[in-house]
């Protein structure tokens, strides 16, 4: 609620610093990293690529942040991406207009989210198990929709969502920024953010305070499904086809990682969508760094995990405490703690 400008800045400062460092490393391995050029009315550049390629994870992490804030998690977003992509591709190849296909895909994604929400909020199944169901089943459903093939399409309207531009800027960038901004406004300009945080911190208290946690939880999972669907359509549009097996594969993990790098606790509670989005950009910048450094591709995954590990270690409470202690001890030496005293009064001879 209390989102004054300085406090927001303080909240995202660690993410900004990390992002700056990773971008600086990019510049070191590839000096032209920051160059931006305009060809044929479209902007090009490595930085733009980071923003563009980061779109799916950025979209996923918007919903994932909310779900994690409620002390939940959604493992199914990758599979929902595949379902949504397949739906869009199949609708558009059946001759429907691309807007209809887009809406259809978003609807299907929201339904997937509602299903997860139902399992979690009504049946009270643990989120990690509840969403695991759709994570596994989702790719099967997507395969059914594409009938086992990679369903390609040539509709320019749909393709523009993933590969096109609007006023020279790649569409995916505009989409994730718009959705991110919309979500931030929606949770912070209404009471939604506070109520979600309340549920995540203490659901028993929240219920007793009259918060309708069930409806709220379902909405949050539906929102996550919607984000995943949008990401799925963008990915499908980018490759002009729906690949049920590989679209969004393992991206749920990247999304969770983005939320964690964003400094949001997996135990729920206070959250920042903005910080998660920065987390998504950090992940994409790391990807770009590996690519630009010219390392043999077989090192990619290992380097990525080492970098991520470094980021997480720096952010860990232990290290944070250590830094705090170092700074405090350099300022003044605290007096030694007195040995724990016995706070007993002499015992009377009772009875």
């Amino acid at each position: 609620m209390s989102a004054t400008t300085p406090s927001v800045f303080k909240r995202i400062l660690p993410q900004l610093i990390i992002l700056a460092v990773v971008l600086a490393l990019n510049v070191i391995v590839f000096p032209g990293f920051l160059n931006i050029e305009v060809h044929n009315g479209r902007i090009f550049g490595n930085l733009i690529d980071v923003l563009n390629r980061g779109a799916p994870v950025a979209l996923l992490c918007i919903g994932m942040t909310l779900v994690i804030a409620t002390r939940g998690i959604d493992l199914s977003v990758g599979a929902v991406m595949a379902i949504a992509g397949a739906t869009a591709a199949s609708l558009v190849s059946d001759g429907h207009h691309w807007t209809t296909s887009l809406l259809g895909a978003l609807l299907v994604g929201s339904l997937c989210g509602l299903w997860n929400g139902f399992l979690v909020a009504v049946l009270r199944i643990q989120p990690i198990v509840a969403t695991l169901v759709l994570m596994v089943a989702g790719r099967g459903i997507a395969q059914l929709i594409t009938e086992g093939t990679i369903l390609t399409f040539i509709d320019p309207g749909l393709i523009r969502l993933g590969a096109g531009t609007i006023i020279g800027i790649p569409t995916p960038i505009l989409i994730w920024i718009a959705l991110g901004a919309g979500a931030i406004l929606a949770v912070r300009r209404t009471a939604l953010g506070m109520l979600i945080e309340a549920i995540g911190i203490n659901e028993a208290s929240s219920r007793l305070a009259g918060i309708n946690s069930r409806v709220l939880l379902i909405c949050v999972y539906a929102m996550t499904g919607l984000c995943a669907a949008l990401a799925g359509v963008i990915v499908a549009a980018d490759i002009k086809g729906a690949d049920a097996n590989n679209a969004g594969l393992w991206l749920e993990l990247d999304a969770i990682l983005a939320v964690v790098i964003g400094g949001n606790s997996l135990l729920g509670g206070r959250f920042s969508i903005l910080a998660s989005l920065l987390g998504a950009l950090i992940i994409q910048s790391v990807n770009s760094l590996i690519l630009l450094s010219g390392m043999p591709p077989e090192f990619n995954l290992i380097i990525k995990s080492v970098l991520i590990l470094c980021i997480l270690v720096i952010q860990s409470p232990k290290v944070g405490h250590l830094i705090y202690m170092l700074r405090a001890s350099s300022l003044h030496v605290p007096p030694p703690e007195p040995p724990s005293r016995r706070v007993l009064t002499p015992k009377e001879d009772a009875q």
Binding site: M1, M194, A198, N202, R207, A209, G210, N212, K347
Partner: protein, 505 residues
């Protein structure tokens, strides 16, 4: 204590410190062979800490334990079990999906050459259980039997593994009258076999029915060891609550009870609280008195919809209303400050400001956020009115002291302008200053015409603010005191009154 019997277990000077608190202060406990020894005390008195120190679940910080004259120092529950101290908890801690026999022999299965001898185990289990008066099929899964039978199986397991001292931590809390008798008959048999049984319960009549002696704890100290044949329930309650009960009649000032606000008819829930009737008027404070587990909290929760009853009707100002969840109650302008502030009250990581407006905002719905200026106005108003001490409204509420947290919770509910305010232990764990302020606040709200229902274990406090006190025992309303009848000693008398003798065994 007869001098000629050597104690089976003797613990002396047991101390245990937790950060910032003394949980046990040189506690002494003597168990004789062949006795049932009740361990009594209100919540937080140190009963479970003492048990945990005896069984090795906690390391004690001081004191010695001797068993049969030899000093012991159990470092874990396994070790104490091997030494002869077995424990059975309120919630049966067996494995429900295994059979009775498997549960009984888990960890010491009868084997031959590394293979289970299932049939021998079932035969042995049947014999063991017959000793306990249970003629059941040990090959059936544990869950196919009632909680009482499961409890007896747990006792049997503990005794077969340990066999000297048996500690029963609220074994009857979820049993009905007949089931209690089943467990009691087992306890009596064990006593006759020479075991020392420690019996922890909140049901006073059960204490007197089965126990020989009692040790009463309060605030981590032993306040008395009594031979139960020579004292009355009244003495025990006085010891437990620990007050020199003052016979001070409080003058009742200002504001007479107004119109009927809420009428409750036969509201109840099986196994939780017997159906009860209750009428609450505007401008009155109805106190709920009773020992722990007597149904105070249950009454409050049921009325607020925090727990859904399985029968009963509610009327507000003559109109029938339905309350099945807290949201319904809030719509009806009810409010509840729950007993456990930490788990059911505060939302720890949210700011004090957000905590104060939480209920109001929840009632408004998320689409209609309270304007920022209004939020600040409300929060600042209550911070001033209730004198909540804080550094900033933005600080997480968990950083406030207990008393200030409680005041912030009161602010949360007052902000919803309730007609009925239910307070469950409003002064538990808060400092003296805040204590007095909350009592003054209750008085003020009553004078303003609000209806209040206050459950408390602090008798003097109840006496100070209640215009009517309802006394509960064993999940049932057993008395009502009004006007000058409201004195601590009258409340104690009503709590301790012998339960009507019933032949149920």
């Amino acid at each position: 204590m007869p001098d000629d019997i050597r104690p089976l277990l003797h613990a002396s000077g047991i101390s245990k410190f937790f950060p910032g608190a003394v949980a046990l202060d040189e506690v002494e406990l003597t168990l004789l062979p062949g006795e049932v020894h009740a361990l009594l005390g209100e919540n937080g008195a140190g009963k479970s800490t003492l048990i945990k120190c005896l069984t090795g679940a906690y390391r004690r910080d001081g004191g010695t334990i001797t068993l049969n004259g030899a000093e012991i120092d159990p470092a874990s529950t396994n070790e104490s079990q091997a030494l002869g101290i077995g424990t059975v908890y309120q919630e049966v801690n067996l494995l429900p999906n295994l059979t009775v026999a498997e549960n009984l022999f888990l960890g010491r299965q009868i084997t031959r050459g590394g293979l289970l001898r299932r049939r021998a185990m079932i035969r042995a289990a049947r014999e063991v259980l017959l000793d306990y008066g249970l003629d059941i099929d040990p090959a059936e899964p544990l869950t196919s039997y009632s909680v009482a039978v499961q409890q007896v199986v747990a006792i049997a397991r503990a005794v077969e593994m340990s066999g000297k001292v048996l500690i029963l931590d609220e074994p009857t809390a979820s049993l009905d009258r007949d089931e209690v008798q089943l467990v009691f008959s087992v306890i009596r048999k064990l006593r006759d076999r020479g075991l020392a049984v420690v019996f922890i319960t909140h049901f006073l009549d059960q204490v007197f029915e089965i126990s020989d002696r009692a040790t009463v704890l309060r605030n981590g100290r032993v306040v008395g060891e009594r031979d139960l044949g020579q004292v009355t329930p009244n003495d025990i309650v006085t010891l437990m609550l620990g007050r020199q009960l003052e016979e001070r009649v409080h003058e009742r000032k200002g504001g007479r009870a107004g119109e009927v606000l809420v009428e409750v008819e036969a509201l109840g829930k099986r196994g939780m609280i017997e159906p009860f009737d209750l009428t609450i008027h505007e401008g009155e404070v109805v106190g709920l008195a009773g020992l722990l587990g007597s149904g105070r909290t249950e009454t409050a929760n049921l009325l607020f919809g925090a727990v859904q009853g399985d029968q009963g009707r509610l009327r507000k100002r003559g109109q029938e209303i339905r309350i099945t969840r807290p949201r319904d109650a809030i719509t009806q302008r009810f409010a509840l400050c729950p007993e456990d502030r930490k788990t059911d009250g505060i939302v720890g990581d949210l700011s004090v400001r957000d905590n104060i407006i939480l209920a109001l905002q929840a009632r408004q719905g998320w689409t209609r956020p309270l304007p920022r200026a209004r939020v600040n106005e409300i929060a600042e108003h209550y911070v001033r009115a209730l004198d909540i001490r804080l550094a900033s409204l933005d600080m997480p509420i968990r950083l406030l002291s207990g008393g200030n947290q409680q005041k912030a919770l009161l602010a949360r509910w007052l902000a919803t302008q309730p007609e009925l305010l239910i307070l469950d232990e409003p002064t538990r764990g808060i400092d003296v200053g805040a204590h007095a302020e909350i009592i003054a606040l209750i008085e003020r709200l009553r004078e303003e015409g609000m209806a209040l229902l206050v459950a408390s274990s602090e008798l003097e406090e109840l006496v100070a603010y209640s215009t009517r006190v309802i006394v509960l025992r064993d999940r049932r309303q057993v008395g009502e005191l009004t006007g000058d009848q409201i004195t601590p000693s009258n409340i104690v008398a009503a709590i301790a009154a012998e339960a009507p003798k019933e032949v149920t065994a």
